[in-house]
Symmetry: C2
Subunit: 804 residues, 2 copies
């Protein structure tokens, strides 16, 4: 039995990938149009490839550098195995592969969607959603395949494929954390770099093309127009894919780590039909089934009526989505009942060991699925077309850009209220049900249908691109009408998808945070210690500064683009008449270089700060690893809390501004008057959208990566700060018999031996005072022997001589 279950997720991932391959070849077989359509789509494809190539070059250097650093750590810290480097490279490779695959299919599907829209809307949806499905299954399949395979190999290597002890499994999972770190590092490049790329190209193309030269958007005479379209794929498709790939892997990993500690709490070993590792395998199994259910869900997304509108298309997506979620819910019940012991013991901080029945773990997964659903509705309420908050922004546009901007900012800020209360309730309740294992499984359940979520997400930018191609190749208006319907639905799914990404990042970070605390073996993170509180402040500041850096980067990169487009307009003869050919590649190159250059500083901030804190802590507190671990924990909590807030604020403000601007296209009533595009109010709304663009496409989504990567780095550093104390230090229960009421003086001589790197020294310590004092001194000393964080140090109390 156990052999099947451990391989089951691998099989399911392979099924997902096989289905993806079939779908992919179907999409590629579709008619790719002709003439100008094909030409434009080829430019976009080549531009996307150019970005990928440049990115991979930079990534190679990064991966080498990070591998060396990880190797160094593995030499210093005995419990960190050199295999972490292999896992890291493996994770980076899988993440890059998924990104590559997703971007390629997206840039191939766009033109095919345009072509399909020439025949019918149902066909157009089928093609565009088909492309999205390939993307979604590719990402989810590779994530599960990579993580599970890595786990099986490491489990074989370290434990010969059979349970030995929590300590050994911890080493397996610590090494596996390298896989997650690799995936998330690539996500940093993809999400932040992609966000800068897409907005730099967008702003650059608009400023010179629309404003200075007076040519329409998506005009092929604009040298930056291809870069702009590439940007949609780089940011919305590849960026989102890498983000969710990272969340997916990290969530499952964190749940496995916490599952391992459940086994520890149950006495260090359990008897079940899965080789005694049921709680560790469960999150992988849920992920595996999620892929299958996503496939089923994607098959349900179809419309029949060629006259369908947004509502029907959205409805088709909803059916697929809800069915996959409902199936996941059922699977969670069955799997939890099947794979977990009927009753588990879990350690609750400050409350001791508790008996937790397996049904409570199921309730925790329900919490996760509910959060995933509710967050979408909340996000839609604050950012959707025609909702109260968006209409309020529209009204405020009538008194100028200033009031529009204030209204948008306020909307984004207010939207943190229900969202944070939802998250807080989710943390609290899933913890109440099944401890931090429950929190991690809530996240796992939510992430199970990642493939479906991504399919829905990716279909939006594909349709957007399809519309652009229709426009540029001057198709019949009905074609653009059909792609517009898809694009409009895509805008909604993009906003709700961002909500889902935030929720997943938040729960993932919490699970990682919990895993961190158990890895380091500290007894909680006490913010009443001033250094910890100081780091909470510093952590809270990082997302704010990160966002500002990302926003400034967009500005700088956009200026580079502006100068290049101006130069081409001036130097290429006949470009405006359409006889000269603009140098698209040069603009793509500028966007690419700017994106990769500008993401350095935010990247260094993300990776450097946790390391700097540990170094600073070591400098000040030496070997008090407990305190340093708490400081880093405080920092992680600060980044997570602040990062989640700024992600919600920026995404929702940006989304609301965007749709406030879009409202003018169909006309809006302001003070009893219908107002349209071109009005002063519309211009004010455009200003708001300009502010919102980097919010929602660059800095906002980057927050997800920031918080997850911060927590992952913490997890990888954790062993340095004293994991596995059990293996290093012998727990001792000193027999202290004192009469604390007595005023008589006492003296205790303690003999203890310290073993460091195989060398043993024996020393003596004398405590004097009243009996109560001596007792408390002895107890304090006993405590230090138990929590000494250095792994290669072993303290044994040989003898205690008490004289009353």
């Amino acid at each position: 039995m156990e052999s099947i279950i451990i391989y089951l997720p691998v099989i399911m991932a392979l099924v997902g990938l096989a289905f993806m391959a079939v779908k992919r070849s179907w999409v590629l077989k579709q008619n790719a149009g002709d003439g100008k359509m094909k030409e434009i789509s080829d430019y976009i494809y080549e531009g996307a490839l150019a970005f990928l190539k440049a990115e991979y070059k930079l990534l190679t250097f990064f991966v080498i550098g990070a591998s060396v650093a990880l190797a160094a750590i593995s030499f210093i810290v005995p419990t960190t195995h050199i295999l972490i480097v292999v896992a890291f490279i493996f994770g980076a490779f899988f993440s890059a592969l998924a990104g590559n695959m997703g971007m390629k299919i997206a840039t191939k599907t766009n033109v095919r969607t345009t072509q399909a829209a020439r025949t019918s809307l149902p066909q157009a949806l089928k093609v565009s959603f088909g492309g999205g499905t390939v993307m979604g299954l590719g990402v989810a399949g590779l994530a599960v395949l990579g993580l599970t395979t890595a786990f099986i190999l490491l489990f074989q290597f370290f434990m010969n494929g059979a349970w030995t002890s929590t300590e050994d499994m911890t080493i397996v999972l610590e090494t596996l954390a390298g896989f997650s770190l690799g995936a998330e590092s690539i996500a940093l490049f993809a999400r932040v770099g992609g966000g800068i790329y897409t907005k730099a190209a967008d702003v650059g193309a608009d400023l010179v093309g629309k404003v200075e030269a007076g040519i329409p958007e998506d005009d092929p005479r604009n040298p930056a127009t291809i870069a702009d379209n590439v940007g949609d794929n780089v940011g919305d498709v590849a960026g989102m894919g890498a983000d969710l790939f990272g969340s997916y892997v990290a969530t499952v990993l964190a749940a496995m780590v916490l599952g391992n500690y459940v086994i520890k709490d149950m006495g260090g070993a359990i008897q079940d039909a899965f080789g005694g590792i049921g709680p560790i395998l469960l999150p992988m199994a849920i992920a595996g089934f999620g892929i299958i259910f996503s496939i089923i869900g994607t098959m349900l997304v179809k419309i029949k009526n060629n006259e369908a509108k947004e509502k029907e298309v959205q409805g088709a997506l909803n059916v697929g989505n809800w069915v996959s979620i409902a199936l996941t819910l059922i699977a969670c019940f069955v799997l939890v009942k099947y794979m977990l012991p009927e009753t588990m013991q879990m350690e609750f901080f400050g409350e001791g060991l508790k008996d937790i029945s397996s049904i409570r773990v199921f309730y925790a997964t329900v919490v996760g699925l509910v959060v995933g659903g509710v967050i979408s509705s909340v996000t839609e309420y604050y950012t959707g077309l025609g909702t109260k908050p968006v209409l309020a922004i529209v009204q405020k546009s009538s008194t100028g850009a200033g009031t529009n901007v204030i209204a948008g900012l306020a909307t984004g800020m207010i939207s943190t209220f229900p969202t944070v209360l939802l998250f807080a309730a989710a943390i609290w309740s899933s913890y109440a049900f099944a401890g931090f294992y429950g929190v991690a499984l809530a996240a796992s359940a939510m992430m199970a249908t990642t493939a479906m979520q991504l399919a829905i997400d990716a279909f939006g930018p594909i349709s957007d691109n399809a519309g652009g191609i229709a426009e540029m190749s001057e198709q019949d208006p009905i074609v653009r009408e059909r792609t517009d319907i898809l694009d409009s639905v895509g805008n909604t799914t993009a906003a709700t998808g961002k909500g889902f990404a935030i929720a997943s990042a938040a729960l993932t970070s919490l699970a990682l945070f919990a895993a961190y605390v158990t890895f380091t073996g500290i007894d909680g993170i006490n913010i009443f210690k001033a250094p910890v509180l100081a780091m909470l402040f510093v952590g809270g500041m990082i997302p704010v500064v990160f966002s500002a850096l990302a926003m400034n980067s967009v500005g700088k990169a956009a200026m580079d683009m502006v100068y290049e487009v101006r130069r081409q307009f001036k130097e290429i003869p006949g470009i405006m008449a359409g006889t000269g050919k603009p140098d698209y590649a040069k603009c793509v190159d500028i966007s690419t270089k700017a994106a990769l250059r500008e993401m350095m500083l935010p990247g260094i901030l993300t990776i450097g700060f946790p390391i700097a804190i540990v170094l600073l802590g070591k400098l000040v507190y030496g070997s008090d690893n407990q305190l340093i671990a708490e400081m880093l924990g405080g920092y992680m909590a600060g980044v997570t809390v602040s990062g989640v807030l700024w992600a919600i604020f920026q995404n929702n403000a940006g989304g609301a501004w965007d749709n406030a601007k879009k409202s003018f296209e169909a006309g809006v009533e302001i003070n009893g008057e219908m107002t349209y595009k071109g009005s002063d109010a519309h211009k004010a709304a455009v200003t708001g959208d300009t502010v919102g663009d980097p919010f929602k496409d660059t800095s906002g989504p980057s927050m997800n990566i920031l918080i997850k990567l911060t927590c992952l780095i913490g997890l990888v550093i954790a062993p340095i700060l004293g994991g596995h104390m059990e293996t290093g230090v012998v727990e001792q229960d000193v027999q202290i018999e004192m009469n604390v009421e007595s005023a008589e003086l006492a003296q205790a001589v303690i003999t203890y031996s310290t073993t460091v790197n195989g060398e043993t020294t024996t020393e003596e310590k004398t405590f004097k005072g009243t009996q109560a004092e001596v007792k408390s001194q002895l107890e304090a000393f006993e405590k230090t022997t138990q929590v000494s964080g250095e792994n290669d140090k072993k303290v044994v109390i040989e003898k205690i001589d008490i004289k009353k």
Copy 2:
């Protein structure tokens, strides 16, 4: 000796108030001008009085309501004495009195400054700064007088004026917390209401007057112009005064609370020349000396040269400021050496008792003074005229309002970097020097020169008003030139003053936070407990939502004003020709009502949430007060961290936008071209300033009150969550003698009595299992008797019967 020291701050406060009275009568004796000048200034004075009157009416209801609630608490919680209600009313009264005094003198000084500016610049500075001095000394004098008198009376009442025990002193200080709560509640009204008032009037006056009717700013034909000028006093003078009054009182209180715990850590009593309460008296003594040094500082602020420019005026202010800070530094050294024991024992969380020499406490005060100085420079760097960040915003204005807004937001966000690192370093180092007592004393030292800071702050809006009066009464241009010099310096001091206010609020909140933890007697706040972490999230969200509510309130209140001004223009005949008299009072009334109405929701949010958390906690966890106290602590930490970030972000972004706009007055070089007022770039900068206005004058400064009030409410709730465990529950050390290595089973029967409200019941509990198990069960039981948070419950273990 002791009798002198305890009364010394009272005497110094009285000296300060006497000096204030002399200065006040000097200012009032100055020539108040004639004709139109006098008429306009009378309108402003009356408008300010009208606001105060309406505010006090509302406050009366609030104070009555809050008093009833406090009285209810004092009946439920035995250790909360009914006198807390008296202290609360006392604190509210003193704070209101200080605000009243400050606003009256400010509105009397403005016209006298205009008149003085007709003779010379030195005279104008003397008058305007004289008004500021009256304001500063009034606030600081009343704060010290009120707090110290309340302390002396409570000390007499509860302890007969002599040290008995830490527990009794805790009751004194808990009751004294009522004084601080009263002061801070008034500050909430003054700061938030004032912020809404000033911006509603400003925006309303501009939108209809400048934009629709095309008349200049400060034109007496505009019905809202008086409300606008009243707003400057209500927001910048009264709001800032109430804010610092609250910080001042809360800081000293928190330091006293922590001083009390230093005495506890030293064994519960110390021998010194101050009746054994030296550490408690020290913060009051520093505050008292600070008043005297502020007087000396204000006397040094003068210029002689009538041709002086901004630099000389700023220089004069700097001399006064630095001298008062330097004198405070010396006084801190002397007082610390004189009043504290040579060596103290302080309990450091997780590190146990440490010996702390008094010089380390002095170092902590140095940290506070340094932070106060550095924060001003940092704030000036990000917001000052001609600085790099502000010039960058100017450059970005050339590409439109969108890029200007993005640049301003990014500047505000980046400015959190040095500021938060500074705060983090301050927390960490002052704690490292002398524990949380050190943190509180750092704050106390920084706040010691509050009178001087407020004098410098208040002189700005006075000069601003003076300039307005000069304009409206059509004075000679030289008069306006002179007031402009003062106004320009006032703009810089306003921005740095806001930085100082944030720093003081941050350190005060931390000190209160520390006092909270010691009051509740919990052993730290562990964010690894999910409910605590959830509350950290919720706390982090509150400042964001609070800011949004405040911003929306400004918008709503401004619309009320717009409709009223439009109505008057339409309905009052001859108003534009200057023959009809606008109804100023009506506009003042609208601003007043809107401000008071709109501040309700943010106020309820601030006061309601901590209470809701405790109720929710009680509902879920019943009597587990430890956990509920930690949850509230997590909430407080979230509010503080997020509130400080949003305060810095909003204040600095607003300040930077303001000065970016002002840069155009003298002309700026953009892309090699000189650009002035009226250009497109300037218009873009005006949009940025519109966004920044509520940021820097309403929501940003409100953060200070939010975080302090939250922590104060926590402090007042603290006793409910189990303070004074020592008095309620007998600490018992159970003798447990077990052989944990043994596999033999054991049984322990424990007999214990529980006394609740005088009734005693005796029960038995039996533990069975291996010896190790029984031991840990016994220990766990013993622990619950020790931490049972209910004060009226007494658990005594009568007998333990162990059968091995």
